[in-house]
């Protein structure tokens, strides 16, 4: 009998926990509320099935538990019942899969006007790159990475020279503007993960991955790494700020381009060489 009580408590408790517990997703800050909606549909369908199965079991145990003189029924198969159950299940599955695939189609279709921004992961630091005035990200190569050129940009590519490079700083995005986030890693797998954006994607050394989204809420959000990348994995945090258009432009104006960074590095090098010379 204890089993019946526990089964009923477990089903009821799970539902109450779901409805009453304070633990729910963080408010969304991107266009992917479609994902949240699909998740809600899935919660309803699966929740009903779970409760139904557990309560049915509880009823069976209560009703058909062994008592002296009882004998089980003998019914090897029931084609009709089995077909109904199969059809019902297929329908339920289709009800979850169909909206899922529709939303996935949106997820993989980057809108034509989306601007590009690059996120580069390394153990255990986030860096970012924005296209400069030409609106194009220049080419890059892991082999070209050096202390002065930490993202491995191609010095001979005019498109790269005006790119804005943010090494270990904050990324700012403009509210309401769709953005294609290009992802690159220079060492191991990482994953650019901002819980409020819902979208996430692994970064894989040797290739460029991407996802897209439109920020819908201004604010400061934490960037986490969601793919195990070594002992520093939990410390690999960053910040992304969603700005209004005016704030975004102010921020953008204060950033340095790749060629400015190169020039600064060269000046520093020359100065060091001059300082070092008299000592010899």
């Amino acid at each position: 009998m204890a089993v019946v009580v526990i089964l009923v408590l477990l089903a009821a408790g799970s539902v109450l926990f779901h409805l009453l517990s304070p633990w729910w997703w963080t408010p969304i800050a991107s266009n992917w509320n479609y994902i949240d909606n699909t998740l809600i549909i899935t919660f309803w369908i699966t929740g009903v099935v779970f409760v139904a199965v557990v309560l049915f079991m509880a009823y069976c145990v209560l009703r058909f538990r062994h008592r002296p003189g009882n004998r089980a029924a003998y019914e090897p198969e029931n084609k009709k019942l089995e077909s109904w159950l199969a059809a019902g299940t297929t329908l339920g599955v289709a009800a979850m899969l169909t909206p899922g695939l529709f939303v996935w189609h949106q997820f993989v279709t980057v809108p034509a006007g989306a601007s590009e921004v690059e996120v580069v992961g390394q153990q255990w630091l986030w860096s970012y790159r924005l296209p400069g005035v030409d609106g194009k990200l220049g080419t890059s190569e892991t082999r070209d990475i050096s202390p002065e050129n930490s993202l491995g940009l191609n010095r001979n590519d005019a498109a790269a020279l005006d790119d804005i490079v943010i090494e270990g700083g904050e990324l700012h995005l403009e509210i309401g503007k769709p953005v294609k986030v290009l992802l690159r890693s220079v060492d191991v797998l990482h994953d650019f993960y901002v819980p409020e954006f819902r979208a996430k994607m692994d970064m894989v050394p040797g290739m460029v991955t991407y996802f897209w989204m439109t920020p819908t809420r201004t604010g400061t959000f934490e960037v986490l790494c969601a793919e195990l990348c070594g002992v520093g994995h939990p410390q690999m945090r960053g910040t992304v700020v969603v700005d209004s258009e005016a704030d975004y432009q102010t921020w953008l104006a204060s950033q340095q381009t790749f060629s400015q960074l190169m020039a600064a590095a060269q000046t520093k090098e020359t100065a060091q060489a001059e300082n070092a010379a008299p000592a010899r």
Binding site: W24, T142, E196, G230
Partner: protein
């Protein structure tokens, strides 16, 4: 359609087997240590698996202590934490679950349930165990190696698995892990071939395929899958070892590690993930299918009722087994593979839910109008259904590609796979041990200790993993040594983590009661007799309990399916498979 039940039929000729001469042991060593008797090998496999499983249990305690009380235990630093989670995962999936279901239950039950004297190749079967033991020892050795075991996560994703930012990446850890896996696969292949050939060639007269108990169908299908899936892991391990030792670049692109250019280039980290999951997803069902099969027999026996829809149950096992080879990339929706794969793999993954759901319906419909004896095996079977349904349903979140995006790599995933392939199959293992221990030892396990063990384990495990889903929903990522302060994670979530840790410590401790019960009852258990559950299958009809080497005096002949419980008109509520029956006790007479 094949008549799955009784009568004399033409199928007898096909399944006819000649009697075999077995190796006769001459000493204690060849009888109990280097034994070729599948039953002894089964106990060896099971004992080794449970022993290394206890290590994994302690590791889970340690990692839960860190998550519940971050920083409170100085010796659990980040390196050790990642070593603990890696070893816990690998031990549980491969060295405990796979080895126990196939090496343990497979060895014990296949010959006995099919009415064979032993496995078809007893010598290779013995080798299988000793290579498995070697694999376990190599794995355990990595705890004592310089640098300790690998901390790459059980998925061992390169490049980090072989780089210095990961514990054991540039030391012995990863090498010992890869070597151990390679050994395991070699050992498993010898055992696995044996199980498949024995099922196909070694069945008793009259034991047609469609009369086999579902336990055997589950183990058989899982073994076929393992023989096809493990080679992918084998290849991946060998290639990664080459990358690490010889400097090849199978999985290594150009890499700048901590500012230093490495001499690798051109390789693909994603290739490893495809190979790993081509093995890894079937592996889920390699664990699940034997559990499906066993739990079907537990429910049927203890509800005194035939399993509902036997033929559908068999086909569901086979279809799930086949489909599980085309769903692997649902583990990789956010891996950076071509996103259009998502359409295909989400569809196949959700299709697999249909035969799986049908199995669940048939289990609960077997309870319907049954005569349910609430024995320990039945309790564990009921608990299995609850946890498996729960874990299976959350699989519909993660399998539906777009819903996976926010949940992937969070604690939701951890909660899901623990519920569905950790808790659920382990509950079946417990139920199966309470069920078959009387045959293995001739004695019953202690009921009071069993009840204590059951209630703490079932309720406790549910309390650990059900709330954990909601941590993932908040957005808490998995594999985090510490969360620190984050805006999206409320302070109350830390309290929840503490609660989960306390529950995990208690559930872990309850397993000590179980182990004590196992050992204590070898000598002090109540005498079981030959067939304490009044079951129909052949292993309960052996002339001796425990069965001697060779199992039978004269090979049994099978006259009916495994589920003749409560047949109308029969004097008892069960008819053993080897009992020739009056022909009027058939399905036609029942309907």
């Amino acid at each position: 359609m094949v008549d799955i039940r009784s009568g004399t039929d033409g199928a007898l000729e096909h399944a006819e087997v000649e009697d075999v001469e077995l190796y006769h042991p001459h000493s204690w060593w060849t009888r109990y240590v280097f034994s070729q008797d599948a039953k002894i090998i089964a106990v060896q496999y099971a004992s080794t698996a449970i022993a290394i499983g206890m290590v994994a249990l302690v590791l889970s305690w340690l990692m839960r202590l860190q998550l519940g009380y971050p920083g409170a235990f100085a010796f659990i630093d980040a390196e050790r934490y990642y070593q603990f989670i890696t070893m816990h995962g690998m031990i549980m999936v491969i060295y405990l679950l796979t080895a126990l279901f196939l090496g343990g239950f497979g060895n014990y039950l296949i010959p006995l349930m099919l009415g064979a004297r032993d496995m078809v190749f007893p010598y290779a079967n013995m080798l299988s165990y000793w290579i498995y033991l070697l694999a376990v020892l190599v794995l355990a050795a990595s705890f004592f190696a310089p640098g300790g075991p690998t901390g790459a996560g059980w998925t061992l994703y390169p490049p980090q698995a072989v780089l210095s930012g990961t514990p054991g990446g540039k030391d012995w850890g990863i090498l010992l892990m890869l070597s151990s896996l390679i050994l395991f696969i070699i050992g498993f292949t010898m055992g696995g071939l044996n199980y498949v050939v024995t099922v196909l060639q070694g069945r008793a007269r009259g034991m047609t395929l469609m009369r086999m108990p579902l336990t055997i169908w589950g183990i058989f299908t899982a073994t076929v899958m393992a023989l096809l899936a493990f080679p992918a892991l084998f290849v991946a391990c060998v290639m990664m070892m080459f990358d690490r030792v010889l400097g090849t670049s199978f999985f290594m692109p150009a890499i700048v590690e901590m500012g230093e250019q490495l001499q690798h280039g051109g390789g693909s980290p994603i290739l490893f993930q495809h190979l790993f999951w081509f093995f890894g997803h079937p592996e889920v069902y390699i664990v699940a299918l034997p559990a499906f099969g066993i739990v079907s027999d537990l429910i049927s026996t203890h509800a005194r009722k035939n399993i509902f829809g036997y033929r559908m149950m068999v086909w569901a096992i086979v279809i799930i087994g086949a489909l599980s080879f085309v769903v692997w990339a649902h583990h990789m929706y956010v891996s950076g593979m071509n996103p259009y794969f998502g359409f295909f793999f989400a569809t196949t993954t959700l299709i697999i839910a249909v035969p799986t759901a049908l199995k669940v319906y048939n289990w609960v419909l077997t309870l319907w109008r049954g005569d349910i004896h609430l024995t320990l095996p039945m309790l564990f079977a009921l608990a299995f259904i609850v946890t498996f349904v729960n874990g299976g349903l959350t699989g519909l979140f993660l399998g539906n590609v777009v819903v996976d995006v926010p949940l992937s790599d969070t604690m939701f995933v951890v909660a899901h796979f623990h519920m569905v392939m950790g808790v659920a199959p382990i509950l079946v293992i417990f139920g199966a041990i309470y069920h078959w221990y009387p045959k293995v030892t001739g004695r019953m396990l202690n009921e009071a200790m069993g009840q204590l063990h059951f209630w703490i384990t079932f309720v406790g495990a549910y309390l650990i993993f059900f709330p954990m889903h909601y941590l993932g929903l908040i957005g808490v990522p998995r594999r985090y040594y510490e969360m620190g302060e984050t805006a999206f994670m409320p302070a109350s979530a830390h309290t929840l983590n503490e609660f989960i840790t306390i529950a995990a410590l208690i559930v872990g401790a309850a397993q000590i009661v179980f182990l004590f019960n196992l050992v204590w009852c070898i000598r002090h258990g109540r005498d079981a007799g030959g067939n304490p559950w009044r079951a129909t299958t052949l292993e309960w009809q052996t002339p001796e309990t425990p069965p001697r080497h060779g199992n039978w005096k004269e090979l049994p002949v099978v006259y009916r399916w495994a589920y003749d419980y409560s047949v109308p008109g029969a004097p008892e509520d069960f008819i053993p498979q080897n009992q020739p029956g009056p022909d009027n006790l058939t399905r036609e007479a029942a309907t």
